[in-house]
Amino acid sequence: MIYSFVGYYSLVLGLIIGLLLFYFSYKNFYTSYVLDTKILTFTFLQLFFVFISFLCLIFSFVVSDFSNETVFNNSHTTKPLFYKISGTWGNHEGSLLLWLLVLTLFIFLFLVRTKNQPIKYKILTLVFQQIIIVGFFLFLIKTSNPFNYIFPIPLEGLGLNPILQDPALAIHPPILYLGYVGSSIIFSSVLAATSLKIISTSWASHIKKWVLISWIFLTLGILLGSIWAYYELGWGGFWFWDPVENVSLMPWLALTTLLHCILVLEKKTILTSWVIILSIATFTLSMCGTFLVRSGILNSVHTFANDPERGLFILVFLFILIFLSMLIFFFFHKDNDKKSYNFFWLSKETSILINNWFMMYFLSVVLIGTVYPIFLDVISSQKISVGPPFYHKLMIPFLIPFLLMMAIGPKLRWIKSQIESKIYLISFLIISILLAFLVLKNFNQNILINTILISSALYLFFITLRDFFVKKYKNISQNIAHFGFSLLILSILFNNLFASEIITNLKVGETFKNSKTKIVFESIDQQKEQNYNAFIANFSISNSNGEEEKFSPELRIYNQPEIATSEADIKTTLMSDKFIVINLVQNQDFFNVRYQVKPFMLWIWLSVILISFGGIVSFLQKRL
């Protein structure tokens, strides 16, 4: 009870401080040339109150205070402590509170860490950020208060959806939010810088680390979500082009493009319009993601809430922000790029510009695939669903020039001067094509498109690999990230091409056999855990070499809420994953067994980690 009380009023206080900050900013903006200490204090206080409120919600979950509606809906006394805590942000209200916490944290850090920038710029950034913060306060308090009372107090809660009870998912939302919300700082500061007309190389190197932070977190957040889908959902894949996966991919694409533009802007004052629009787009797409997920406008595994009132609020708020930023862009921004610099057709800048357009193409494919069904439904009441084939067909062909561009682009500066570099570039290309051809020929796959794809990925792989050993080459962070990307594409390709799958129905004691694999369903055990009952099936699977391995996938029947889930048993080795999952067949005494061998699964995760590691290196370099 006391936690809900304190939590709620801290939120109200936070909102009041947000309004006060507008007033102080207004006064400070015109009267003084130093940053008012009041502004810093109040920003800190706002962070403090949101933090208190967040702690209160965590405590309510820990002590299972069912007088709180959010706790009642999403928790249960038999849940392990770890999932009680992670349940705090596993629901709509709590996750918005977390979003607010990150918003206030970032603006505070921004004010403290930003030096050598005009004071008016800092104040304006604060104002824009406060517009977002106040909007979210209102949203939280008005439509999704996490501290609603229930009377009479229920004895037991309804429980957390079992598919959310997973360690990867416990940290997935906070990490992803750091990425999403981090882009709000970029948004606010770009609006401030545009209105003050201070977009320049020094501004770029200042904002670069914020871009890097949110990019790193967004990358890792998407990775965690993907790992969760692979291990928990048991569909045997890591990316399903689900609308909600797409809405996290879209800001990532925009942010990655932005990162490259900022890197150029750091050196020369060009691409300013790109930077502004991309900054706005990144945050808008993050918000749009919130809208799509929270309003229930589309159906997906992530749609927790189905509440049009909430959707309407975010929608109106989102478009206020969009119109505000458009207004600022069109009023204040004058594109001076052309006067100061002429693009040379064979330069790093041109290659980045070309890659930008490729990224924009990928972004629009994902965007159209995600929102087109909504549009079609509204306009003509037709229901369609856009699946993986759409994305694969539209994206894969364009990956080839994209990969080649990634390999050659960073070296364009040297191409003009040195002959021998040309020779190694071409020889690497030939080696890649030959290698790709040889690999595929042995496996009897569809040769032409795959050879080209794999060879272009291999090309990037070799070129970046070589650069690690060339001392002259300084841009280590870029090289790591690009190397990681080539590894990612290669792993995904090999994973798709060489995966094998067996689907069969088996009873206890039965055996499935084909030329390569023998699956024996040995026995089934029952086990009682704190919040679920488990049926553990024991399989022994042997391959053609006679090597035998034991697998024990589970079926879990959770008690609160009563939901059955399949826990896949996954054996991960360096080169391949073996994945087995069982499902109940209605009214039958056999189980549906799905066994997959997926090569290079681990490398997909590792390469994404490598990509974000590139970002981390770049972030740390700037500090030195």
């Binding site: 049009p308 929608l315 478009f319 969009i322 119109f323 458009m326 909504i374 509204v378």
Partner: protein
């Protein structure tokens, strides 16, 4: 000139997007089978319950008569509750109750009728539940009021006295 058109164009485009999202919010996202109210009857072939002979749907329903199609099953507990009400309704002269035996074992169904009585003029079998799907049924029990080969009204779940009174009113 060009510089002025661009902002307006962008604002109009976003305005349209806003409008479409707004409309999208209003629509319910819960999918339901279409209600077959006042629609033509589906056409199907099936077996007669007692004789086991093949019959066509057209031979079951005549024009100008009122029918109540009742989907039932011996394993369905609410059907058991509903049964006396059907027996009662059968006393009315101007209604013919037709039974659709849904995913049932013949033996159990016969016992069920022996125990509780048979209110049905005719019974046909829907062994795998496909005919019920064609009727747009959600489950058992469910009843359809039929006149002139058209579905007048659909009752989901067991009938109670209140609904029977309504049916009696509709018949008149």
């Amino acid at each position: 000139m060009k510089n002025k058109i661009l902002p307006f164009g962008v604002i109009i485009i976003f305005g349209i997007i806003f409008f479409i999202f707004y409309k999208g919010l209003e629509e319910s996202k819960i999918y339901t089978p279409d209600l077959n109210a006042k629609k033509e009857l589906p056409v199907f072939n099936t077996k007669e319950f007692f004789s086991g002979k093949n019959i066509k749907s057209s031979s079951i329903f005549d024009l100008d008569k009122i029918y109540l199609l009742n989907i039932w099953s011996s394993w369905c507990v609410p059907c058991r509750q509903e049964h006396p009400i059907l027996m009662n309704l059968n006393l009315e002269n101007n209604i013919n109750i037709i039974g659709m035996n849904y995913k049932d074992k013949l033996k159990n169904a016969e016992n069920f009728l022996k125990e509780l009585g048979n209110p049905y003029k005719k019974i046909f079998i829907d062994l795998d539940g496909t005919i019920a799907i064609e009727w747009g049924a959600y489950g058992v029990p469910e009843s359809f009021l039929i006149y002139n080969n058209k579905i007048i009204k659909k009752y989901i779940g067991p009938l109670n006295q209140e609904l029977v009174d309504e049916i009696k009113l509709l018949i008149k």
